[in-house]
Structures are given as structure tokens and as C-alpha cells.
């Protein structure tokens, strides 16, 4: 039976990483009141620059750092447009997605030519936690996973604690619900929103880097393949909470893993590849539980007119 095979759970966990990280990032952004649909584009940027710098410097860790910096910068552009000039956040996000797809493809061709990124690009290590691998079944799931899987698990817990149990987390949530009320209490709405959006950029870039130097060690054009959008669905599915986003990412990850496993069973692979996307549509249509967005999500705040 396929469900008793720990391999499918290992694959689920691994597939959840590039969904959970941007989903948690999106949670931070939207909790402060900025709609972020640019996760897809920021992931691409993260994935590309991770590979590039990993190859140039010979260190996957420096590649990861470069991915975070580039993702943060891209998110800053989104933040500036959304916060400072009150631009339409959906249009802005789409713009970044299209820009990122074009930019990474262009740079891939100009920097690396038609052969693509070199096969000797270093990737992040896979690790097994000593002791954990001794436990039957569970040990197999965690055996030889990318280090980013463990980082993700830590980030999920820290993010949840941060958003719901710290002063800054409380302020972030207040700004996303009622910025004018927060402003009259002396909270700097714009600064908190910048923080939330840039944080989302860092998480998305991390998710992108996982694809290019965590699972693989190379970049192909448009390699995120819509994961940024599925992450958006995971965020909504998870009711704008880090733990919920992670849970939703696991469900989507499982459906992807299931697709891969069932491929060997004689079911059309094209049909199976639809599973995560069909689930996404269901989640976005609100069929899976009622989700309430932060009240001021997507609404620019201008302190001068109140």
C-alpha cells in the first residue's frame, strides 16, 4: 500500500518546503495589510541568484545569502510601490512576476548560454539528524533531507510565535486590521508594512533557493512552475497563520507526491499533475472552510488624509 510507504511522506515533506516558506512570507506581508502575489516572481529571482552565486563563489551558502538579498530587494520595490505611492497591489505583484520571469530567463541565456547552469554548481547539503534516523518509519522520512527542510520546520514554529506572541507581531496584526487605529496609538504604519513585505521577500527567496540549490543544483527557465501561486492558496487555506500555511503546504505537497507515486501505477501523469492545482482552486474558492483576510489587506494607508 502506498500510504504505508514512508517514501511518500518523505516526498510530501520535501515538496512542502517551496510552498510553506513563501506561504509564511505571504502571511507576514498580508498580516500587515499588503497583498503579495509576487511570491512567484521573488521565488524565481531567489532560485536564479542562488545558483549563480553558488557557482561563482563555489559556496552554496553564499548563494543562499545572495538569494535572500535579491529577494529582499525585489520585495522592497513591491513595498515601496504599495506603501509609498499607494499603487494597486495586484497589478504591482503581477508586474513583478512577469518581470522576474523575463529577467531570469534573459540572464540565464546571457550568462550561461544554451547549456544552462553548470552541472558542477555546489548545492546545499542533505543531512540526517543523528538519533532521529534510528527511529523506525519516522527515521526514513527524515533520512537524507535537505538542510532547508529542517530550517523550514524551525521557521514555522518561530514565525508562529513571532506573529502571535511578540509585541511586534501584535503591532503587525493591528496594522493589517485597522491602520488608522494603530496610527493614532503611535505605531508607525508604513515602517511595519515595509518590514512585513520585506520579510515575505526573504521567505519567498528561501523557497526559490530550495528548488535550485536544495533539491537540484541548477536553474531552468520558469522552474518555480506556479508554486508561488499555490503558496498563495496555502496561505489563504491556512487562514493567514504560519502553522496553518504549513499544514496547507503539507496537503499540497502530499498531492504532488501522490501524483509522482501514482505515475508508476499506469494512471495518466498529466491527470495526476492536476491534483495540486485542482486543490488550489478549491482552496481559493473558499470551499475548504471560511477564511477571513486581515481587514485592511490590500488597502493603501495614507496618514495625511484620515
Amino acid at each position: 500500500m502506498i500510504f504505508s510507504d514512508p517514501e511518500i511522506w518523505a516526498a510530501t515533506l520535501s515538496m512542502a518546503v517551496p510552498l510553506a516558506l513563501p506561504a509564511i512570507g505571504g502571511t507576514f506581508s498580508e498580516r500587515t495589510g499588503v497583498v503579495n502575489i509576487a511570491m512567484e516572481g521573488i521565488m524565481l529571482i531567489g532560485a536564479f541568484f542562488a545558483v549563480t552565486f553558488s557557482y561563482w563563489t563555489g559556496s552554496a551558502w553564499l548563494g543562499l545569502l545572495a538569494a535572500l538579498i535579491c529577494g529582499g530587494l525585489t520585495a522592497s520595490a513591491l513595498a515601496w510601490g504599495a506603501i509609498r505611492v499607494s499603487a494597486d497591489q495586484t497589478v504591482l505583484g503581477m508586474g513583478i512576476n512577469i518581470f522576474a520571469a523575463g529577467l531570469t530567463t534573459f540572464l540565464l541565456n546571457t550568462l550561461f548560454g544554451f547549456n544552462g547552469t553548470p552541472i558542477n554548481t555546489p548545492k546545499l547539503p542533505n543531512v540526517s539528524i543523528p538519533g532521529l534516523d534510528k527511529i523506525p518509519y519516522i527515521g526514513v522520512i527524515f533520512q537524507n533531507q535537505s538542510i532547508l527542510v529542517y530550517i523550514m520546520i524551525v521557521l514555522v514554529i518561530v514565525s508562529h510565535w513571532f506573529l502571535f506572541h511578540t509585541r511586534l507581531g501584535l503591532r503587525m496584526r493591528s496594522v493589517g486590521e485597522h491602520p488608522l487605529a494603530a496610527d493614532t496609538l503611535g505605531i508607525n504604519v508604513w515602517r511595519i508594512r515595509y518590514f512585513g513585505v520585506i520579510l515575505s521577500g526573504l521567505f519567498s527567496a528561501l523557497g526559490g533557493a530550495y528548488l535550485s540549490i536544495g533539491v537540484l543544483n541548477g536553474f531552468t527557465a520558469n522552474m518555480t512552475n506556479g508554486r508561488g501561486y499555490i503558496a498563495l492558496a496555502a496561505m489563504i487555506f491556512g487562514k493567514w497563520t504560519p502553522l496553518g500555511s504549513f499544514g496547507a503546504a503539507l496537503i499540497f505537497g502530499f498531492s504532488t507526491a501522490l501524483g509522482i507515486v501514482l505515475q508508476g501505477q499506469g494512471i495518466s501523469s498529466n491527470l495526476l499533475q492536476m491534483i495540486p492545482y485542482a486543490l488550489t482552486i478549491l482552496a481559493l474558492a473558499g470551499l475548504v472552510g471560511r477564511a477571513v483576510a486581515p481587514a485592511a489587506d490590500g488597502i493603501p494607508y495614507d496618514p495625511r488624509r484620515s
Binding site: R167, G169, L170, E177, T184, L185, G186, I187, P294
Partner: protein, 504 residues
Amino acid sequence: MEIVDLKKWFPGVKANDGVNLTLCAGEVHAILGENGAGKSTLMKMIYGLLEPTAGEIRFMGKTVHFRSPREAIHAGIGMVHQHFMLIPALTVAENVVLGDEPGRIRFDRKEAQRRVYELSEKYRLAIDPSAKVGTLSVGLQQRVEILKAFYRKAKLIILDEPTALLTPQETRELFSIVHSLKADGVPVLFISHKLDEVLEISDRVTVMRAGKTVETVETSSATPQSLANLMVGREVVLRVEKSPAHPGEPILQIRNLHVRDAGRMERVKGVDLELRRGEILGLAGIDGNGQFELADAIAGLLKVEQGQLIFDGEDITRWSPAERTRRGIAYVPQDRQLDGLVLSFDLVENTILRDFRKRPFAKTGVIDRTAASRYTERLIREFDVRPPDSSRKASELSGGNQQKVILAREVSRDPLMLIAAQPTRGLDVGAIEGIHRQLVRLRDEGKGVLLVSLELEEILSLSDRIAVIHDGRIVDIVPGAQATREQIGLLMTGSRGHSEVSLP
């Protein structure tokens, strides 16, 4: 606090043009004025949201210039806004401490709840610190706002139109809070346009008109008539003048009506009621007892679960709102901004909202702007809508003028019946007078008028008969001429018996 010759000029408008006010320790000082008299502008200047053009504000003996609410809060000014500055998704404690939370990095939720609990004990504002604000009643939300002010060590409390959204009971509770604040020596600035409240709660009243403070009087020496005259600047008719009604045939018969609200809660639980031509039937009740769901159901905005609506001899129970409109039902909904107008449309578009399909406003599916504008301008003149400009967006009008536009649209279609839900909510004395006169005129023309209102005074002064609704059922129907405030108030609580208890 002392305010000396304060002025605020906007381009083309003198919003405040000479405001003088002295607020003494431990007094409840009311500022009374019609909408647009400059009360809000004054508040915004005191609270640091606007900078004065000229004049000065002195607080605790020093001249102050607040550039932001932050500075005003810091100086000890506590403001309870008309539209609360609360975050529904957060708890009471979180709302109160926000911006000045206990804890270092971690938010110390326990400590926050403890502090809020202590404050609520100290000022006798009973509330559960761990409740989500969104689940609280409006009256309790207001307490949270007052607690917010005290948490920031306010030395002066400004209440901006505090009763606008409250039920009569909640208003009582607010007044007892104000009394206890006064007993503690906290001065309260009470902004309102409601005469009876000001008379009841304040020690002194300052009346504002057209941006100026007209006069400050001791409340004990003031009467409703004297204050109303000061507010409006002329003799005002407070009591509606009307001749006896000549009710005719029933126009609307409601039979065993059951209605659920949008959240599927049963709100109307078997109402039988009859409205006749040529009468005003007042529907009195405490907010949330099904009166507005009943009104929506008659207009066709809510589905009837069970029972019948007979209008002018026809069963309209399953008719669409548009069919009912065509048949002669006019509706002034409770929420004028949400259900009464399309705020982003101009006045022409709003006045033809009911009939835009028909001649003369449309020919073969194309709207005739010229004909529509001509019609709108006529209504603007007849109903004295200000500013008299049909190209204005509905959102640019004051509440009173928005209401005039709705009433003009509904009444000018020559309906057989009008349902008016809270037709004067939030309006000032002058505008209320005009709207009341319109309702009486409709009645005298032989139309049926169903007046749904939370204002007991309004029901008592207008209605020929008064039906009292409680928990979705009609408790009793009494003739308007004999009804007393106490009697109706008692019925509103659902008790039918003639007990000796009289409401305050």
C-alpha cells in the same frame, strides 16, 4: 482647558471662525451644534489631527500645539471617536495596550489582561479583557475606547457624538459612566447634536453655529426650546404639528410573518400587523429585536420564510424588490450609505435609481441624461438639498442631505406606502424637522407610512398608532395620542403587564 478665539480656515470655508471655551476641572461640558457647525473641526484641532489657523489652546495652564494625536495622547487628552478606533479581530486587552504593550520582545498577554482588569475595576467599567472586540456590543466597545484613554493616563475625556450608535439602555449606562468620571474629578467634553442628552448629562453647554461658539449657558437654566433656537439661529418647531389622522382602507397586511436575517437567525417570529392608508404606524423597539428585518422583508430585501404580505389586495410575498417598487412601495432603508445610495454615483444617477429603465429617463435602453438632470434638479429644489448641484457624488453630501436625496427619490415616485427605517438617524434639528414634515404630508395625502425608529421621541411625536416589537413579535399596539414614554419603554422590554415600574 481653555480655548481662545480658535480659527480654522480651509480654502473657501471658515470651518471654525472664533471658538471660545473654558472647561473647568470636574465638569461635564457639552458642545451642542448642528452637523456642519464645526464641532468635528474643533475636536480634530484639540486632538492634533488639524492645525489651527489662528488662536490658541491652553491645557493645564500651558499653551499647547499638538502636531499629531500621539502628542495629544501624551499630554493627557483622551478621545472617544464617534467611529471607534478599535480592531475587531483583537481582544479587549490587546486593543487597550496596543502601542504601549507590556513585555520586552515577547508580548506579555497575562500582564496586559491584568492591567486592563485593574483599570476596569478602578473606573467601574466592567468588561472581560480576553473577549474579542468584534464580538462585543457597541456599548461595550465604547467602554474599551474609554479604557484606552485611561490606560494612557488621560486627564480629560472627549466624547464625540457618543450616543449615535447606542441603544437607549447603553446610553443609560454611558451616562452613569460619565457621572462616575465626574465624581472622580475627570472633566468630560461631550459633543452632541441631541438636545435631550445634553440637557440631561451636562453642567454647562456651549452652543456652536456656523463655526462660531454662540453662547455658553448653565444647563440648569436652559430649556430644549432655548437651546434649539440657539443652535439653528431661529425659532424651531420641536413638536411636530399635525392634524388628526383619517385612516382609510388597509394598504398592507402582514400575516404571521417569519423572517431570517443574512446569518440565518430567525429575527421576525410571527408578526401580524396592519397598516392603513392615511396613517403613520410607528414600530418601536430596542435595536436587534427584528424591526429592521421586518422592514427589509416588506421591501423584498429579505426572503419571507413563512407567512404572507398582502399589499393593496395582492399577495406580494414572493415578489422581487423591483416588482414591489413598481407596485408602489417606497423604502428608506436604515443604512442610507449602504442600502440607500450608490455613494460613488452622482445625484442624477442616484435619483433615477428606481426608474432608470423607464421613460423619460431612458429611451430604447439609452439613458437620457438631460431629462434625468432636469428631474434631479427639480427634486433638489423641492427638498432643499445642499449644495444644489446635481453633478455632485452622493458621497460628497452630508448625512442630512443624503437622507433628503433618498427621501426625495422615494416620495416623488408617488408611492402608495412608505417604509421609513431610522429616517432621521444622525441628523440635526433642522433636517429632522423637514423630514418629519414630509412624513406627515404623505400621511395627509392618504398614503400609508410605516415608521421604524429606535428614537422613542420620534415614534411618540409622529405616530398615529404605535406597535411595539420585542424579540421578533409584536407585544402590543397602542393609539399614539395616549401613549406615554414610560408605557412604550416598558413594552419595549417585552413586558405587557401594567406594573408599577417606571423607566427612568
